[in-house]
């Protein structure tokens, strides 16, 4: 968050909180169709989907952040992100907004967010009276996670 120019982000909702990922990390956003469950996959992985001919895991962000899963509905979206040569689908409750976030509005995660969840958070942006949580994609996709991968 050191650049002077505002960065473009895609905003999405998970359990009432607005999260953001840099637009450049998101390959595309899809309606959620059938997800095929994969036996013995990590608990936060709902299964696999086909996305443009590729098999990608569908990661439940609710499960990843420790919330209850809810049934998918017409607003649910799958954000297919690309990181370190991998393609991964992130399941969000809603996703419908793009936003430029000036680096000056981004602050490091506060004390109250310390702990496991803080690792997924790159920063918190305050725009007007909105709080937007910027995610750290690398941590989010880490399979070595000692707590959630089990």
């Amino acid at each position: 968050m050191t650049g002077e120019r505002p960065d473009h982000f895609i905003l999405f909702l998970v359990a009432g909180t607005t999260y953001a990922l840099p637009t450049k990390d998101v390959a595309h956003i899809e309606m959620v169709e059938q997800i095929t469950r994969v036996p013995n996959a990590p608990a936060f992985v709902d299964g696999v989907v086909f996305s443009r001919g590729q098999v990608v895991p569908a990661v439940s962000l609710r499960a990843r952040f420790g919330f209850e899963r809810v049934p998918r509905d017409i607003k649910s979206r799958l954000l297919v992100v690309q990181a370190a040569g991998r393609s991964i689908g992130l399941l969000a409750d809603e996703c419908r907004e793009f936003l430029s976030i000036p680096p000056s509005t981004v602050h490091p995660p506060g004390e109250s967010l310390a702990g496991i969840a803080a690792r997924y958070i790159a920063g918190v942006a305050t725009i007007g009276d909105r709080l937007i949580v910027l995610l750290n994609l690398d941590e989010l996709l880490n399979t070595q996670d000692p707590i959630l991968a089990a």
Binding site: Q34, P42, G53, L141
Partner: protein, 649 residues
């Protein structure tokens, strides 16, 4: 020297041997072309490539004598190929002398001897190039004021567009004759296989003419006066490119495997789309008049057939000869036999059998391991063989054959056969469970167990950290199976069945509870119906009667963590061989189809027992199961004591 470099040197020598064979053959053929205007271009090209390859690999292993000699010979051949030099009698003699020196240098390096003196050959070869580039005769018939450069190389590349404008080779030739003299004309073959014509032309051209001709597909470049080849007689008649022979060398295209994978992926998408189309048509069919219905069906069938052809066409591009795996083995065996004081000959059959390039790359090491094993554990020493009344020379046969979508590789020796007692003793020593009366499949299981090795790690032949465990794992990862048969005193045979290609395969589609999945047909030996009531729990698992014995069964519902159904009749896929024969229980079999295998790459979803996913036409991902991994998993889950394996055989 490290093992790594040693292994690499083996490859170097093997490859050199192969190229030297080409070179010896090529030089003999070339001898007949001495003095001809252009020696056989195929042979020239082949020789050029052989020297070029040796130069490359010699550089990698820092074998300087070999690198330098190949470089000199390559340069001379390039000059001949480009028409810049003529093949003379001293030329062919220098090449033969050079090839002989090269052989000596390679042999010396292999035996660790002092390198021979190669300077004489190098000097001879260098002399050829300085002689063969004399100053060209200047045929300056051009009017004053034109560019003084006398000789030009004009390359004309015909195209349909040019021909339609009347610009043909004949016109170009007439045009050149009007401006000067054609010294030489020859067809050349571009990298993409198209034919162009090169004229060496003496005359004066000004820049305006060069530019004007460029619009007609001609590229004219001024030659340094000593670039042209004096000995080549003026030849106003265009030499016709002999189709076939001449074209073949330029017709190979190196393709990145990733691009073929991409093509395969696109065809996969088409296959799926076709399935969707068929489904949609089936739905609207009742509303279509019968006459139209028939036409639609015919088109659909035609599309299906063409798709299949397209798929096969792309798959064929990926296929390479199994010979690629085999070709190094004779050298490996020869070296190893010498080191261990044995006499072994290698018999190769079916080298022309084709298999997917990816499989060839992955199978190289496993086959190498089996061959090394055959020499060090299979073939007996000379004394032992003579005492046993066998021919002193042992035989290792490598064969490949294709049957349907399966390619079988066999590695057989006529040695002593596997030593059952010793394997069992070793197994007991390392704590592997040993069932009573083990058959060959059990023995293969044992020797393929990690940590099993009956010889010291210092054993050169097999102690390379690449054991039978990895051989078996590699074969299974590729969707194949491995079997072993062995007769005491007569030899051992390993048979490896591999799918011809990986991307598209036939699969059985089955249902377990609410789950649909695919099982590659290559891994299923048989499908049987099972009475749910006849499945009995025994210690460590369940069995069902099968062919007068008891077949261990695994409920896929348990492996897939889905609710167990309450059906009376179940089906079982019989998978695995020998002791590993297992029935995988499913509720229903929906049918057999051609599926497009999508690999599962991400670690989040790469789980044991699932080898990929496929789309049956509705956009849903259907998991493709890996039978071998499921059986392994089930055995680990049980107590390890497998039920009554002998009764099934």
């Amino acid at each position: 020297m490290t093992d790594f470099l040693e292994g690499f040197l083996d490859d170097y020598f093997a490859e050199c041997d192969e190229h030297l064979t080409t070179i010896r053959r090529g030089l003999l053929a070339l001898e007949g072309s001495v003095g001809r205007q252009r020696p056989d271009p195929v042979v020239t090209e082949e020789l050029f490539r052989a020297f070029h390859s040796i130069k490359g690999i010699a550089g990698m292993v820092e074998h300087r004598e070999s690198e330098q000699l190949s470089h000199e010979m390559e340069s001379y051949l390039r000059a001949i190929r480009e028409g810049d030099a003529r093949l003379t009698t001293p030329g062919i003699e220098a090449l033969i002398e050079g090839a002989r020196s090269l052989e000596h240098a390679i042999a010396a390096r292999r035996q660790g001897d002092t390198p021979p003196d190669t300077s004489r050959a190098v000097t001879l070869l260098r002399g050829l190039l300085s002689e063969s580039t004399p100053a060209g005769t200047v045929h300056d018939t051009a009017p004053a004021g034109a560019t003084p450069s006398a000789q030009w190389q004009c390359v004309f590349t015909p195209s349909p567009a040019l021909v339609s404008r009347g610009v043909t080779v004949d016109l170009i030739r007439t045009r050149l004759r009007e401006s000067g003299e054609i010294i030489n004309a020859s067809p050349i073959i571009a990298a993409d296989g198209s034919v162009a014509f090169r004229f060496i032309f003496a005359g004066a051209l000004d820049q305006a003419t060069v530019d004007a001709w460029a619009a007609d597909g001609m590229t004219c470049t001024a030659l340094q006066s000593d670039d042209t080849d004096k000995p080549i007689a003026p030849s106003p008649d265009l030499v016709q490119a002999a189709p076939g022979a001449t074209l073949s060398t330029g017709h190979y295209v190196r393709v990145d495997l990733a691009r073929l994978d991409e093509l395969m992926r696109m065809i996969g998408d088409l296959v799926i789309l076709r399935v969707r189309l068929t489904d949609s048509i089936t739905r609207v069919e009742p509303f279509v008049p019968p006459a139209d219905r028939r036409v639609i069906q015919e088109h659909l069938i035609a599309v299906e057939r063409q798709l299949r052809d397209l798929r096969e066409g792309v798959m064929r591009v990926r296929l390479v000869r199994v010979g690629e795996i085999f070709r190094r083995m004779p050298f490996v065996v020869r070296d190893l036999a010498r080191d261990t004081g044995r006499k072994v000959r290698v018999v190769l059959t079916g080298q022309d059998t084709e298999i997917d390039k990816f499989l060839v790359e992955r199978m190289m090491d496993p086959v190498l391991h089996l061959v090394r094993n055959a020499v060090s554990h299979g073939i007996e020493s000379l004394d032992e063989r003579i005492a046993a009344g066998k021919p002193p020379e042992g035989t290792i046969s490598l064969s490949a054959s294709a049957s349907g979508d399966i390619v079988t590789l066999e590695i057989a020796d006529d040695g002593c056969g596997v030593d059952t007692e010793r394997i069992l003793a070793r197994a007991a020593q390392v704590g592997l469970p040993v069932p009573p009366n083990p058959d060959e499949a059990v023995l293969l299981d044992l020797i393929s167990s990690p940590g099993f090795s009956t010889r010291d790690d210092s054993d050169r032949a097999s102690g390379r950290g690449f054991g039978m465990a990895i051989v078996r794992t590699t074969v299974q990862e590729l969707g194949g199976t491995i079997r072993m048969t062995s007769t005491p005193g007569q030899g051992t045979r390993f048979s490896i069945d591999l799918p011809l290609t990986l991307a598209i395969t036939d699969a059985l589609i089955a249902r377990v509870g609410t789950h649909t999945f695919a099982m590659p047909q290559t891994s299923v030996r048989e499908v049987i119906e099972v009475d749910a009531a006849a499945v009995r729990a025994i210690e460590g698992g369940e069995v069902t009667p099968y062919r007068g014995g008891a077949l261990p069964v695994v409920r896929l519902s348990r492996i897939l963590n889905v609710p167990v159904s309450a059906m009376d009749r179940l089906h079982a896929f019989i998978v695995g061989t020998g002791a590993a024969t297992t029935g995988l229980l499913v509720d229903r079999i929906l049918g057999q189809r051609e599926i497009v295998v999508r690999s599962i790459a991400d670690p989040l979803i790469r789980v044991d027992g699932v080898s990929g996913a496929t789309d049956l036409g509705d956009g849903r991902a259907v998991l493709i199961l890996d039978a071998a991994a499921i059986v392994r998993r089930a055995r680990v889950r049980g107590t390890g004591a497998l039920p009554a394996v002998k009764e099934i055989a």
